[in-house]
Symmetry: D2
Subunit: 286 residues, 4 copies
Amino acid sequence: MSAVVDRACLVVTGPDRPGLVSVVTAAIAALGGNIVALDQYTDDPDGGEFFQRVVFDLPGLAAAMPDLRRELGEVLEPVGLQWRLRDLGVPLRMGVLVSLSDHCVLDLLWRVRRGDLPVTVPMVISNHTAVAGDVRGLGVPFLHVPSAPGEREAAEERLLELLVGNVDFVVLARYMQVLSADFLERVGVPVINIHHSFLPAFVGAGPYRKAKERGVKLIGATSHYVTPDLDAGPIIEQDVVRVTHADSAADLQRRGADVERAVLSRAVLWHAEDRVVRHGNQTVVF
Amino acid sequence: MSAVVDRACLVVTGPDRPGLVSVVTAAIAALGGNIVALDQYTDDPDGGEFFQRVVFDLPGLAAAMPDLRRELGEVLEPVGLQWRLRDLGVPLRMGVLVSLSDHCVLDLLWRVRRGDLPVTVPMVISNHTAVAGDVRGLGVPFLHVPSAPGEREAAEERLLELLVGNVDFVVLARYMQVLSADFLERVGVPVINIHHSFLPAFVGAGPYRKAKERGVKLIGATSHYVTPDLDAGPIIEQDVVRVTHADSAADLQRRGADVERAVLSRAVLWHAEDRVVRHGNQTVVF
Amino acid sequence: MSAVVDRACLVVTGPDRPGLVSVVTAAIAALGGNIVALDQYTDDPDGGEFFQRVVFDLPGLAAAMPDLRRELGEVLEPVGLQWRLRDLGVPLRMGVLVSLSDHCVLDLLWRVRRGDLPVTVPMVISNHTAVAGDVRGLGVPFLHVPSAPGEREAAEERLLELLVGNVDFVVLARYMQVLSADFLERVGVPVINIHHSFLPAFVGAGPYRKAKERGVKLIGATSHYVTPDLDAGPIIEQDVVRVTHADSAADLQRRGADVERAVLSRAVLWHAEDRVVRHGNQTVVF
Amino acid sequence: MSAVVDRACLVVTGPDRPGLVSVVTAAIAALGGNIVALDQYTDDPDGGEFFQRVVFDLPGLAAAMPDLRRELGEVLEPVGLQWRLRDLGVPLRMGVLVSLSDHCVLDLLWRVRRGDLPVTVPMVISNHTAVAGDVRGLGVPFLHVPSAPGEREAAEERLLELLVGNVDFVVLARYMQVLSADFLERVGVPVINIHHSFLPAFVGAGPYRKAKERGVKLIGATSHYVTPDLDAGPIIEQDVVRVTHADSAADLQRRGADVERAVLSRAVLWHAEDRVVRHGNQTVVF
């Protein structure tokens, strides 16, 4: 993924009505932009919600952003549309929280290093120290924030001090602590989790054990935005892998790890490219 | 699948202990059988449960079956093993129950006709008449047993009259009636269902609508043995297909239908070939 | 798939340049159309080829088609764009050619009957008679055009008499005759084939036997537009299924049949919805 | 994957005849072994080739190995069987050759470290130095053997000096040099390659570019034993991933990398567990 220059991404949502696509594309054309990708979705042609993502090239984008924002606002807001605009040449800053398992965090950092995930990683934070050496070896700051029983509140305060202002989104790369509703509100940026089951099956702890007990023939992983309701937030991506009666719970865990890291890396990529739009408790992924 | 002659299938289960595989294979060798396939599984090498399926060729099998049974019993029962023996040249008789949807029943009957499912089909029974023409067109008897509210008990009585003694297993090929525990006991043969979700997610009615509401990115189907607990019996086979935000609940239903018929036909094939061994609420599929 | 009324599909291609998306969407807005789906693709933002598919609703579409065509031509042709416009309420007419295998043709006809494939089927033609009963049983005309060695030219003449003017595209649903370049030119409509391998592996006859000999671990099927070069035309869709050493060539054929019919039905659906744009020897599938 | 103690793996091949399974299992029982897994395959029940893999537990295995070998030889060789016996508690030694791409080698080493691949890694050798830091950071010796044009023979000599006697098999983890038939003979151990296409499609260099040109809708990777014929050796494992017209050749390379490392790690695991039996130019994978 080579560096992107002079490329913007505009996401627009609002009540559908005839002509909206044309309004948006005409506005971009009028500003001198060349559309290189466009996706559009309406959940109901009769009075539903309208979603559009447009990627366009514009010479001198970085300098032109303030003007762009003003002019887009003047066109889009009068017709009732909400919008967000990003310069895709400015990568999002991703904070990572992790506990003991290394497979998700190392896969993310390796993808960032090889240029496949357009993000920067200001910090990896863990309530353990198991992954410290690997993380620092990949050139990424590692911070230890213990989270002993009874100290959860203090731990969350410390996390907020570290994260707020420094990251654009947070990834829970197998972080085995439940974050409070208060934390989610105060952190102020999207939080993406990877859950080691095919949600909504096997919510909560021990999903591989539960999967073994239920005798399922496929196990899965789900990446979703975190909300105060445990494992119930909007799903970004899911995948599964086939298992048999002969796989032990440990086998499920080992094979599931491959699915977890694959699903999480896709969800993070799509979020980083601004392809995901939340819609109630669902997502539109362009 | 050409006709199979002189081929037997022996399934053995019991408490594991050293030498069991050898006991079984020596018994077959002593009887003159040539093993063509053997699968074996122990859920725990230290004192677990032992499962074995052996397929063997024996000239003159049909005539030899009574002797075989007696001799196998003499060898296997003293070491605490349960066993079942089948002549694979005698296909199982499959009864099918269906409501309005035709995709599962027609796919099963088409596979039987082309010789891909080693079963015979004495009858298809429905609480509607929608599929009567197609079923009879494929040369299979169709019987109508209405099941109006308040008449469920009478309907089950009628089903039992038709099925008991005439079929070796029953397939619910999208039969939208819940069968009573009393029926399941009295029918006396295994009953296989296809549920249109990736169990244990979305138990009960309306799984595609529930899947749409939850915003899942994969939908699935599950074939399982029916028990008195709704959609909670031992799973035989499952599969999934990818969907997106743009798929309506009707799209999910249409795309799910392809998964349903594929999953059900695999489950029926494996049951017909005696590859499935129930183990508590799980299955071993050899 | 309920009947579609007042819904049009416009496909536009041509040399890319800034503002094209806006030109097209503004034209549709000016004509009173409400865009319900839009896909766009440029193979190279710097001077590549531009592809766009727009689906829009317009009250009174059927009556307005002539005006629409004139006005779209006036807008799109001056900027160098080629275009095609369809009223999606008028289903394409699909002619089917088949030899002995029934799985592809029956699956297509069954999907048409249940309303999942928006086409009509004026005729099924075969060089054998094996599928005549099933086809007619589904209410579709069946015609027998034998194709003995030495009579290929006469057979193709007969096919042309039947097809030309009566169908909008032709599907080779396991038709085991190679069609001549002359036939392809004179039939004048797209011809879609299903090849029973994962192309470009195993071109030509006997792909399952070749797959078995090579010892592959996945087998596949490929649907493509037919060109005079055998099995080398633009690919529309492909898929695979896992196999093992224990599967015989007959097993591969049986399991491959499921992939063939699934792949072909998707390719036909996408063609029927005008989602496929040919681009040299490749396809853009929106 | 916890350490395995007192567990042996016996692989037997030879001309099939009645009673072979019983001969093998009786021999193991006579030696005091408890069979924990058994797979068996005959490519043709009438006079074909017989393959069997048995895993069994035997207290004091390490000390008993010489006796075991002698006694198994006395039983198996008179009936025409070839066999190999391994103490699964003694991991195979894996040598890795790599060029510039890091994804395969790092994934293998990471799996070894977490205990998911039962091998040791005496050395990683590269004709470049790009991965030296990462490999050594994972505690594995890295050796640089340049392979400039005109020096291939000298490079192969150097490789042989390093590998022979020190490794039990060699993995080409994206090693972009063709090894000579002479090297393959002299190295004396199996060599496993990962090829970045779904073989037999796209043999040789540049498979992703070729895949893009052909317009395929799935790309794949294939792991196979290396023979003197380029990319034509027995296939161990393959897999694919879906792509679209919108994926550039660079996208294919990036997405293919995930399939490559997954396929290679499965092939290496199966080889390390002695699950793979070569059979002409095919493999039996138990």
